[in-house]
Protein backbone atom coordinates (compact mmCIF):
# COMPACT_ATOMS: atom_id res chain seq x y z
CA UNK A 1 0.00 0.00 0.00
CA UNK A 2 1.60 3.26 -1.08
CA UNK A 3 1.66 6.37 1.07
CA UNK A 4 -0.12 9.19 -0.86
CA UNK A 5 1.91 11.87 0.85
CA UNK A 6 5.15 10.13 -0.02
CA UNK A 7 3.98 9.67 -3.61
CA UNK A 8 3.15 13.36 -3.92
CA UNK A 9 6.48 14.37 -2.41
CA UNK A 10 8.34 12.11 -4.84
CA UNK A 11 6.23 13.39 -7.75
CA UNK A 12 7.21 16.92 -6.83
CA UNK A 13 10.84 15.79 -6.67
CA UNK A 14 10.59 14.41 -10.21
CA UNK A 15 9.06 17.66 -11.43
CA UNK A 16 11.99 19.56 -9.92
CA UNK A 17 14.42 17.27 -11.73
CA UNK A 18 12.49 17.78 -14.99
CA UNK A 19 12.74 21.57 -14.68
CA UNK A 20 16.44 21.30 -13.86
CA UNK A 21 17.09 19.11 -16.92
CA UNK A 22 15.28 21.57 -19.17
CA UNK A 23 16.91 24.72 -17.85
CA UNK A 24 20.45 23.32 -17.74
CA UNK A 25 20.77 23.24 -21.54
CA UNK A 26 20.50 26.26 -23.85
CA UNK A 27 17.50 26.07 -26.17
CA UNK A 28 17.20 28.86 -28.76
CA UNK A 29 13.77 27.56 -29.80
CA UNK A 30 12.28 28.79 -26.51
CA UNK A 31 10.48 25.49 -25.94
CA UNK A 32 12.58 24.68 -22.88
CA UNK A 33 11.46 27.94 -21.29
CA UNK A 34 7.84 27.21 -22.13
CA UNK A 35 8.04 23.71 -20.67
CA UNK A 36 9.92 24.88 -17.59
CA UNK A 37 7.27 27.55 -16.94
CA UNK A 38 4.57 24.91 -17.02
CA UNK A 39 6.48 22.58 -14.72
CA UNK A 40 7.29 25.33 -12.23
CA UNK A 41 3.61 26.32 -12.14
CA UNK A 42 2.55 22.73 -11.38
CA UNK A 43 5.21 22.55 -8.65
CA UNK A 44 3.90 25.78 -7.17
CA UNK A 45 0.31 24.57 -7.31
CA UNK A 46 1.25 21.37 -5.47
CA UNK A 47 3.24 23.31 -2.88
CA UNK A 48 0.14 25.46 -2.39
CA UNK A 49 -1.59 22.21 -1.32
CA UNK A 50 1.01 21.85 1.44
CA UNK A 51 3.05 19.18 -0.37
CA UNK A 52 6.78 19.30 0.37
CA UNK A 53 9.08 17.87 -2.30
CA UNK A 54 11.36 14.92 -1.76
CA UNK A 55 14.75 14.72 -3.39
CA UNK A 56 14.80 12.00 -6.06
CA UNK A 57 17.59 11.01 -8.43
CA UNK A 58 17.44 12.49 -11.92
CA UNK A 59 15.84 10.38 -14.66
CA UNK A 60 17.40 9.98 -18.10
CA UNK A 61 15.32 12.73 -19.68
CA UNK A 62 12.77 15.43 -19.03
CA UNK A 63 10.03 13.25 -20.45
CA UNK A 64 11.04 10.37 -18.15
CA UNK A 65 10.94 12.67 -15.13
CA UNK A 66 7.53 14.00 -16.16
CA UNK A 67 6.23 10.50 -16.75
CA UNK A 68 7.45 9.38 -13.32
CA UNK A 69 5.76 12.40 -11.75
CA UNK A 70 2.53 11.59 -13.61
CA UNK A 71 2.51 7.98 -12.41
CA UNK A 72 3.01 9.02 -8.80
CA UNK A 73 0.40 11.77 -9.00
CA UNK A 74 -2.03 9.25 -10.46
CA UNK A 75 -1.77 7.14 -7.32
CA UNK A 76 -3.07 10.09 -5.30
CA UNK A 77 -5.41 11.48 -7.93
CA UNK A 78 -8.11 12.47 -5.44
CA UNK A 79 -5.76 14.95 -3.77
CA UNK A 80 -4.31 16.44 -6.94
CA UNK A 81 -6.08 19.57 -8.26
CA UNK A 82 -7.83 18.82 -11.55
CA UNK A 83 -5.98 21.65 -13.32
CA UNK A 84 -2.78 19.62 -13.08
CA UNK A 85 -3.83 16.82 -15.46
CA UNK A 86 -4.31 18.65 -18.76
CA UNK A 87 -1.24 20.75 -18.01
CA UNK A 88 0.85 17.67 -17.33
CA UNK A 89 -0.39 15.86 -20.45
CA UNK A 90 0.42 18.91 -22.58
CA UNK A 91 3.90 19.05 -21.07
CA UNK A 92 4.47 15.36 -21.75
CA UNK A 93 3.41 15.78 -25.38
CA UNK A 94 5.69 18.76 -25.89
CA UNK A 95 8.62 17.12 -24.10
CA UNK A 96 8.17 14.10 -26.39
CA UNK A 97 8.06 16.33 -29.46
CA UNK A 98 11.28 17.88 -28.28
CA UNK A 99 12.95 14.49 -28.50
CA UNK A 100 13.20 13.71 -24.82
CA UNK A 101 10.74 10.85 -24.68
Amino acid sequence: MSDPNRDLADALGHLRQAAHLLLAEPDPSGLALELASGILDIENLLEDQGIEPAWVPAADSTADSLAAAGRLLGRAAEIVPSWVWPALVALLDKAGDRGHR
Binding site: A9, G13, R16, Q17, A19, H20, L23, A24, P26, D27, P28, G30, A32, L33, E34, A36, S37, L40, D41, E43, N44, L45, E47, D48, E52, P53, A54, W55, V56, A58
Partner: protein, 411 residues
Protein backbone atom coordinates in the same frame (compact mmCIF):
# COMPACT_ATOMS: atom_id res chain seq x y z
CA UNK B 1 0.24 53.82 -21.57
CA UNK B 2 3.23 55.26 -19.78
CA UNK B 3 3.64 54.64 -16.08
CA UNK B 4 4.09 57.38 -13.49
CA UNK B 5 7.82 56.62 -13.37
CA UNK B 6 8.07 56.79 -17.16
CA UNK B 7 6.24 60.13 -17.17
CA UNK B 8 8.58 61.49 -14.49
CA UNK B 9 11.54 60.37 -16.61
CA UNK B 10 10.03 62.16 -19.60
CA UNK B 11 9.41 65.23 -17.46
CA UNK B 12 13.06 65.23 -16.43
CA UNK B 13 14.23 64.90 -20.04
CA UNK B 14 11.97 67.72 -21.23
CA UNK B 15 13.07 69.95 -18.38
CA UNK B 16 16.68 69.36 -19.42
CA UNK B 17 15.75 70.31 -22.97
CA UNK B 18 14.23 73.52 -21.66
CA UNK B 19 17.33 74.46 -19.70
CA UNK B 20 19.58 73.67 -22.65
CA UNK B 21 17.76 76.16 -24.88
CA UNK B 22 19.17 79.69 -25.16
CA UNK B 23 16.99 82.31 -23.42
CA UNK B 24 14.81 84.17 -25.94
CA UNK B 25 13.83 87.65 -24.68
CA UNK B 26 10.07 88.17 -24.89
CA UNK B 27 7.53 90.71 -23.71
CA UNK B 28 5.01 88.00 -22.88
CA UNK B 29 4.99 84.71 -21.07
CA UNK B 30 5.17 81.49 -23.05
CA UNK B 31 1.57 80.79 -24.07
CA UNK B 32 1.86 77.20 -22.78
CA UNK B 33 2.65 78.36 -19.26
CA UNK B 34 -1.03 78.53 -18.23
CA UNK B 35 -1.61 74.86 -19.00
CA UNK B 36 1.62 73.92 -17.28
CA UNK B 37 0.63 75.77 -14.11
CA UNK B 38 -2.89 74.31 -14.12
CA UNK B 39 -1.59 70.76 -14.44
CA UNK B 40 1.02 71.29 -11.74
CA UNK B 41 -1.76 72.44 -9.40
CA UNK B 42 -3.77 69.29 -10.20
CA UNK B 43 -0.81 67.11 -9.20
CA UNK B 44 0.30 69.03 -6.13
CA UNK B 45 -3.23 69.18 -4.76
CA UNK B 46 -3.08 65.38 -4.37
CA UNK B 47 0.23 65.21 -2.48
CA UNK B 48 0.38 67.68 0.41
CA UNK B 49 1.28 70.82 -1.57
CA UNK B 50 3.61 73.43 -0.06
CA UNK B 51 1.19 76.28 0.80
CA UNK B 52 3.49 79.04 -0.42
CA UNK B 53 3.93 77.40 -3.84
CA UNK B 54 0.20 76.77 -4.19
CA UNK B 55 -0.57 80.38 -3.36
CA UNK B 56 1.79 81.54 -6.09
CA UNK B 57 0.52 79.05 -8.65
CA UNK B 58 -3.11 79.93 -7.96
CA UNK B 59 -2.33 83.61 -8.54
CA UNK B 60 -0.92 82.83 -11.98
CA UNK B 61 -3.12 82.61 -15.09
CA UNK B 62 -4.05 79.00 -15.84
CA UNK B 63 -6.20 79.50 -18.93
CA UNK B 64 -5.75 77.34 -22.02
CA UNK B 65 -3.95 79.29 -24.74
CA UNK B 66 -5.74 79.80 -28.04
CA UNK B 67 -2.50 79.45 -29.96
CA UNK B 68 0.86 78.21 -28.90
CA UNK B 69 3.93 76.70 -30.50
CA UNK B 70 3.21 72.98 -30.63
CA UNK B 71 6.70 71.86 -29.79
CA UNK B 72 8.03 74.43 -27.34
CA UNK B 73 9.60 72.87 -24.24
CA UNK B 74 7.08 74.69 -22.00
CA UNK B 75 4.23 73.19 -24.02
CA UNK B 76 5.60 69.64 -23.88
CA UNK B 77 6.30 69.94 -20.16
CA UNK B 78 2.71 71.11 -19.72
CA UNK B 79 1.39 68.09 -21.65
CA UNK B 80 3.59 65.71 -19.67
CA UNK B 81 2.37 67.20 -16.40
CA UNK B 82 -1.16 66.80 -17.77
CA UNK B 83 -0.66 63.09 -18.44
CA UNK B 84 0.84 62.72 -14.98
CA UNK B 85 -2.07 64.60 -13.39
CA UNK B 86 -4.60 62.44 -15.27
CA UNK B 87 -2.87 59.24 -14.18
CA UNK B 88 -2.69 60.25 -10.52
CA UNK B 89 -6.24 61.60 -10.43
CA UNK B 90 -7.49 58.34 -11.94
CA UNK B 91 -6.01 56.45 -8.97
CA UNK B 92 -6.76 58.64 -5.93
CA UNK B 93 -6.83 55.70 -3.51
CA UNK B 94 -3.33 54.55 -4.46
CA UNK B 95 -2.00 58.09 -4.22
CA UNK B 96 -3.64 58.56 -0.82
CA UNK B 97 -2.10 55.31 0.49
CA UNK B 98 1.38 56.06 -0.85
CA UNK B 99 4.06 56.50 1.79
CA UNK B 100 5.60 59.77 2.82
CA UNK B 101 8.88 59.08 1.01
CA UNK B 102 7.33 58.51 -2.42
CA UNK B 103 4.90 61.39 -2.05
CA UNK B 104 7.84 63.62 -1.13
CA UNK B 105 9.84 62.36 -4.08
CA UNK B 106 6.96 63.00 -6.48
CA UNK B 107 6.42 66.47 -5.05
CA UNK B 108 10.13 67.30 -5.34
CA UNK B 109 10.27 66.23 -8.98
CA UNK B 110 7.29 68.41 -9.91
CA UNK B 111 8.64 71.36 -7.92
CA UNK B 112 12.10 70.95 -9.48
CA UNK B 113 10.53 71.21 -12.90
CA UNK B 114 8.57 74.30 -11.84
CA UNK B 115 11.79 75.82 -10.56
CA UNK B 116 13.54 75.33 -13.87
CA UNK B 117 10.54 76.61 -15.82
CA UNK B 118 10.39 79.71 -13.60
CA UNK B 119 14.12 80.33 -13.87
CA UNK B 120 14.10 80.08 -17.66
CA UNK B 121 10.91 82.17 -17.97
CA UNK B 122 12.33 84.83 -15.71
CA UNK B 123 15.43 85.18 -17.83
CA UNK B 124 13.26 85.73 -20.91
CA UNK B 125 10.93 88.35 -19.44
CA UNK B 126 11.58 92.12 -19.22
CA UNK B 127 12.27 93.70 -15.84
CA UNK B 128 9.60 96.34 -16.26
CA UNK B 129 8.20 97.01 -12.73
CA UNK B 130 4.77 97.61 -14.22
CA UNK B 131 4.66 94.09 -15.54
CA UNK B 132 3.18 91.83 -12.82
CA UNK B 133 4.17 88.35 -13.97
CA UNK B 134 7.92 88.55 -13.31
CA UNK B 135 7.29 89.03 -9.60
CA UNK B 136 5.17 85.90 -9.39
CA UNK B 137 7.61 83.91 -11.47
CA UNK B 138 10.50 85.11 -9.32
CA UNK B 139 8.58 84.07 -6.21
CA UNK B 140 7.93 80.68 -7.80
CA UNK B 141 11.61 80.22 -8.59
CA UNK B 142 12.55 81.08 -5.00
CA UNK B 143 9.88 78.89 -3.39
CA UNK B 144 10.85 75.83 -5.44
CA UNK B 145 14.61 76.15 -5.35
CA UNK B 146 15.18 73.73 -2.47
CA UNK B 147 13.30 70.95 -4.23
CA UNK B 148 15.57 71.24 -7.25
CA UNK B 149 18.44 69.84 -5.17
CA UNK B 150 16.61 66.67 -4.08
CA UNK B 151 18.20 63.59 -5.72
CA UNK B 152 15.84 61.94 -8.17
CA UNK B 153 14.85 58.31 -7.71
CA UNK B 154 12.08 56.17 -9.19
CA UNK B 155 8.89 55.89 -7.17
CA UNK B 156 8.23 52.47 -5.72
CA UNK B 157 5.30 50.28 -6.59
CA UNK B 158 2.39 50.58 -6.77
CA UNK B 159 2.38 54.34 -7.47
CA UNK B 160 5.42 54.13 -9.76
CA UNK B 161 3.66 51.66 -12.04
CA UNK B 162 0.30 53.42 -12.22
CA UNK B 163 -0.74 54.03 -15.80
CA UNK B 164 -3.84 55.18 -17.64
CA UNK B 165 -6.21 52.81 -19.35
CA UNK B 166 -4.12 49.83 -20.28
CA UNK B 167 -6.14 47.38 -22.33
CA UNK B 168 -6.89 44.32 -20.17
CA UNK B 169 -4.96 41.33 -21.46
CA UNK B 170 -2.61 43.44 -23.57
CA UNK B 171 1.12 42.89 -23.30
CA UNK B 172 1.53 46.28 -21.59
CA UNK B 173 -1.11 45.43 -19.02
CA UNK B 174 0.15 41.89 -18.42
CA UNK B 175 3.75 43.04 -18.01
CA UNK B 176 2.77 45.81 -15.58
CA UNK B 177 0.70 43.44 -13.45
CA UNK B 178 3.39 40.75 -13.51
CA UNK B 179 6.16 43.21 -12.62
CA UNK B 180 4.12 44.67 -9.77
CA UNK B 181 3.48 41.25 -8.24
CA UNK B 182 7.00 39.94 -8.86
CA UNK B 183 8.63 42.97 -7.27
CA UNK B 184 6.27 42.84 -4.31
CA UNK B 185 7.12 39.19 -3.62
CA UNK B 186 10.85 39.50 -4.30
CA UNK B 187 11.11 42.47 -1.95
CA UNK B 188 9.44 40.56 0.89
CA UNK B 189 11.99 38.61 2.92
CA UNK B 190 9.20 36.52 4.41
CA UNK B 191 7.30 35.75 1.19
CA UNK B 192 10.03 35.22 -1.37
CA UNK B 193 10.31 31.61 -2.55
CA UNK B 194 12.47 29.56 -4.87
CA UNK B 195 9.45 29.48 -7.19
CA UNK B 196 9.46 33.29 -7.25
CA UNK B 197 13.16 33.33 -8.15
CA UNK B 198 12.89 30.63 -10.80
CA UNK B 199 9.64 31.82 -12.35
CA UNK B 200 10.70 35.46 -12.64
CA UNK B 201 14.00 34.37 -14.20
CA UNK B 202 12.20 32.15 -16.74
CA UNK B 203 9.79 34.97 -17.59
CA UNK B 204 12.60 37.48 -18.09
CA UNK B 205 14.35 34.95 -20.34
CA UNK B 206 11.15 34.57 -22.38
CA UNK B 207 10.73 38.35 -22.62
CA UNK B 208 14.31 38.71 -23.89
CA UNK B 209 13.96 36.02 -26.56
CA UNK B 210 10.58 37.38 -27.69
CA UNK B 211 12.07 40.88 -27.86
CA UNK B 212 14.98 39.63 -29.96
CA UNK B 213 12.51 38.06 -32.40
CA UNK B 214 10.26 41.13 -32.46
CA UNK B 215 13.04 43.61 -33.12
CA UNK B 216 14.42 41.39 -35.88
CA UNK B 217 11.12 41.38 -37.84
CA UNK B 218 11.34 42.72 -41.41
CA UNK B 219 10.15 46.19 -40.41
CA UNK B 220 11.42 45.98 -36.84
CA UNK B 221 14.02 48.18 -35.24
CA UNK B 222 16.98 45.91 -35.80
CA UNK B 223 18.45 43.46 -38.31
CA UNK B 224 18.56 39.88 -36.98
CA UNK B 225 22.32 39.89 -36.70
CA UNK B 226 22.51 43.23 -34.88
CA UNK B 227 24.47 43.56 -31.66
CA UNK B 228 21.24 44.25 -29.76
CA UNK B 229 19.54 41.09 -31.06
CA UNK B 230 22.57 39.01 -30.16
CA UNK B 231 22.75 40.66 -26.74
CA UNK B 232 19.05 39.96 -26.12
CA UNK B 233 19.51 36.28 -26.98
CA UNK B 234 22.51 36.11 -24.65
CA UNK B 235 20.44 37.75 -21.92
CA UNK B 236 17.73 35.16 -22.49
CA UNK B 237 20.24 32.33 -22.14
CA UNK B 238 21.73 33.92 -19.02
CA UNK B 239 18.33 34.30 -17.35
CA UNK B 240 17.55 30.69 -18.24
CA UNK B 241 20.73 29.67 -16.39
CA UNK B 242 19.72 31.87 -13.46
CA UNK B 243 16.38 30.03 -13.33
CA UNK B 244 18.13 26.67 -13.03
CA UNK B 245 18.08 25.87 -9.33
CA UNK B 246 19.54 22.52 -8.31
CA UNK B 247 16.73 20.17 -7.21
CA UNK B 248 18.31 19.80 -3.76
CA UNK B 249 17.99 23.55 -3.02
CA UNK B 250 14.74 25.39 -2.36
CA UNK B 251 13.01 28.14 -0.46
CA UNK B 252 9.44 27.18 0.35
CA UNK B 253 6.27 29.22 0.60
CA UNK B 254 3.24 30.32 -1.37
CA UNK B 255 3.31 32.55 -4.43
CA UNK B 256 -0.12 31.95 -5.94
CA UNK B 257 -0.62 35.47 -7.22
CA UNK B 258 2.70 35.39 -9.05
CA UNK B 259 1.69 32.14 -10.73
CA UNK B 260 -1.51 33.71 -12.06
CA UNK B 261 0.24 36.87 -13.24
CA UNK B 262 3.05 34.86 -14.86
CA UNK B 263 0.59 32.69 -16.79
CA UNK B 264 -1.30 35.78 -17.94
CA UNK B 265 1.96 37.20 -19.23
CA UNK B 266 2.82 33.89 -20.95
CA UNK B 267 -0.47 34.15 -22.83
CA UNK B 268 0.09 37.80 -23.73
CA UNK B 269 3.55 36.93 -25.05
CA UNK B 270 2.13 34.07 -27.10
CA UNK B 271 -0.46 36.44 -28.61
CA UNK B 272 2.29 38.97 -29.26
CA UNK B 273 4.36 36.38 -31.14
CA UNK B 274 1.35 35.61 -33.33
CA UNK B 275 0.62 39.28 -34.01
CA UNK B 276 1.20 41.35 -37.13
CA UNK B 277 4.99 41.49 -37.69
CA UNK B 278 6.45 44.94 -37.97
CA UNK B 279 3.60 46.89 -36.37
CA UNK B 280 5.19 49.87 -34.57
CA UNK B 281 3.27 49.21 -31.36
CA UNK B 282 4.94 45.79 -31.11
CA UNK B 283 8.38 47.34 -30.80
CA UNK B 284 7.11 49.91 -28.29
CA UNK B 285 5.46 47.25 -26.17
CA UNK B 286 8.59 45.10 -26.14
CA UNK B 287 10.80 48.06 -25.26
CA UNK B 288 8.56 48.89 -22.31
CA UNK B 289 8.42 45.21 -21.30
CA UNK B 290 12.21 44.96 -21.26
CA UNK B 291 12.49 47.99 -19.01
CA UNK B 292 10.03 46.36 -16.59
CA UNK B 293 12.04 43.14 -16.84
CA UNK B 294 15.16 45.07 -15.92
CA UNK B 295 13.48 46.32 -12.74
CA UNK B 296 12.28 42.85 -11.82
CA UNK B 297 15.77 41.51 -12.56
CA UNK B 298 17.35 44.06 -10.23
CA UNK B 299 14.90 43.08 -7.47
CA UNK B 300 15.65 39.42 -8.18
CA UNK B 301 19.36 40.04 -7.67
CA UNK B 302 18.85 42.05 -4.46
CA UNK B 303 16.51 39.43 -3.02
CA UNK B 304 18.93 36.62 -3.83
CA UNK B 305 21.81 38.47 -2.20
CA UNK B 306 19.65 38.75 0.91
CA UNK B 307 18.65 35.09 0.84
CA UNK B 308 22.23 33.89 0.35
CA UNK B 309 23.81 36.25 2.86
CA UNK B 310 21.26 35.29 5.51
CA UNK B 311 21.78 31.63 4.65
CA UNK B 312 18.08 31.10 4.33
CA UNK B 313 18.23 28.63 1.43
CA UNK B 314 17.10 25.13 2.31
CA UNK B 315 19.05 22.00 1.36
CA UNK B 316 17.60 18.50 1.32
CA UNK B 317 19.16 16.34 4.04
CA UNK B 318 19.27 13.30 1.74
CA UNK B 319 21.86 15.11 -0.38
CA UNK B 320 24.10 16.12 2.53
CA UNK B 321 25.55 12.66 3.05
CA UNK B 322 25.50 10.29 6.03
CA UNK B 323 27.82 12.42 8.11
CA UNK B 324 25.13 15.11 8.42
CA UNK B 325 22.73 12.57 9.91
CA UNK B 326 25.47 11.35 12.24
CA UNK B 327 26.07 14.83 13.61
CA UNK B 328 22.37 15.76 13.57
CA UNK B 329 20.64 12.68 14.96
CA UNK B 330 17.21 14.34 15.03
CA UNK B 331 17.23 15.05 11.28
CA UNK B 332 15.40 12.88 8.72
CA UNK B 333 16.52 12.27 5.16
CA UNK B 334 13.37 13.95 3.84
CA UNK B 335 13.95 17.20 5.80
CA UNK B 336 14.94 20.51 4.24
CA UNK B 337 17.38 22.45 6.41
CA UNK B 338 19.35 25.71 6.20
CA UNK B 339 22.90 24.66 5.42
CA UNK B 340 25.48 27.44 5.50
CA UNK B 341 28.32 25.45 4.00
CA UNK B 342 26.64 24.86 0.65
CA UNK B 343 28.13 26.54 -2.42
CA UNK B 344 24.76 26.49 -4.17
CA UNK B 345 23.86 30.00 -3.00
CA UNK B 346 27.03 31.51 -4.45
CA UNK B 347 26.53 29.63 -7.71
CA UNK B 348 22.97 30.94 -8.00
CA UNK B 349 24.15 34.43 -7.19
CA UNK B 350 26.87 34.33 -9.84
CA UNK B 351 24.35 33.18 -12.45
CA UNK B 352 21.92 35.91 -11.44
CA UNK B 353 24.56 38.64 -11.62
CA UNK B 354 25.66 37.48 -15.05
CA UNK B 355 22.04 37.48 -16.19
CA UNK B 356 21.40 40.99 -14.87
CA UNK B 357 24.58 42.24 -16.54
CA UNK B 358 23.58 40.59 -19.81
CA UNK B 359 20.15 42.24 -19.71
CA UNK B 360 21.66 45.66 -19.00
CA UNK B 361 24.10 45.17 -21.86
CA UNK B 362 21.20 44.36 -24.18
CA UNK B 363 19.29 47.43 -23.01
CA UNK B 364 22.35 49.61 -23.50
CA UNK B 365 22.48 48.38 -27.10
CA UNK B 366 18.81 49.24 -27.55
CA UNK B 367 18.94 52.57 -25.71
CA UNK B 368 22.48 53.95 -25.66
CA UNK B 369 22.95 55.97 -22.46
CA UNK B 370 22.27 59.68 -23.01
CA UNK B 371 25.26 61.96 -23.40
CA UNK B 372 25.74 65.04 -21.26
CA UNK B 373 24.94 67.36 -24.17
CA UNK B 374 21.84 68.69 -22.44
CA UNK B 375 23.71 70.22 -19.53
CA UNK B 376 24.03 73.96 -19.33
CA UNK B 377 27.12 76.03 -19.80
CA UNK B 378 29.67 76.26 -16.98
CA UNK B 379 28.72 78.85 -14.42
CA UNK B 380 25.05 78.74 -15.30
CA UNK B 381 22.98 78.07 -12.22
CA UNK B 382 21.21 76.29 -10.81
CA UNK B 383 22.59 73.06 -12.31
CA UNK B 384 19.42 70.96 -12.37
CA UNK B 385 21.36 68.18 -14.05
CA UNK B 386 23.56 67.73 -11.00
CA UNK B 387 20.77 66.44 -8.78
CA UNK B 388 20.06 63.33 -10.86
CA UNK B 389 19.72 60.11 -8.89
CA UNK B 390 23.09 58.47 -8.34
CA UNK B 391 21.67 55.00 -8.95
CA UNK B 392 21.39 53.11 -12.24
CA UNK B 393 22.02 54.82 -15.53
CA UNK B 394 18.99 56.74 -16.69
CA UNK B 395 18.77 55.52 -20.20
CA UNK B 396 16.01 57.02 -22.33
CA UNK B 397 12.75 55.25 -21.81
CA UNK B 398 10.79 53.52 -24.53
CA UNK B 399 9.55 55.36 -27.55
CA UNK B 400 6.05 55.16 -26.03
CA UNK B 401 7.17 57.45 -23.26
CA UNK B 402 8.92 59.91 -25.50
CA UNK B 403 6.13 60.11 -28.04
CA UNK B 404 4.37 63.50 -28.08
CA UNK B 405 1.28 63.42 -25.88
CA UNK B 406 -1.92 62.09 -27.33
CA UNK B 407 -4.75 64.55 -27.75
CA UNK B 408 -7.42 64.03 -25.13
CA UNK B 409 -5.11 62.55 -22.53
CA UNK B 410 -3.06 65.53 -21.51
CA UNK B 411 -4.76 68.77 -20.83
Amino acid sequence: MATVNALLDALHDRTLELSAQPAMPSNTEDPGLGRLVGNAIRILALIDPPPDVMTILQAMPTSEPAEEPGNSPITTIGYTLGALADTLNANPETVRNTGHTDRGQLRSQVLATLHQVATVSLAALPTDPGFSSPALIRDLADATQTASYVPRVDLREPIGLLALAQIPGSLDDSVARWAETAIEILQSQTRVTSYAFQRTAVTIAALCSTAAATFAEPTGNLPPESAASVALLRASEAWQRAADWPPEVRLGGRATQLRHRSRDLDQALAIHRLGQPGAPSRNDSMSAALLSAEKVGACHESALIQAVSKRSLWINVATLGPSYLTFNPGARRSDWVPYPRTRAGQTLLDACRQAETALQTALDHLHPPATASATGTPGEKPQWEMVSAPTRSRRPRSAKVLTPPVRGIAR
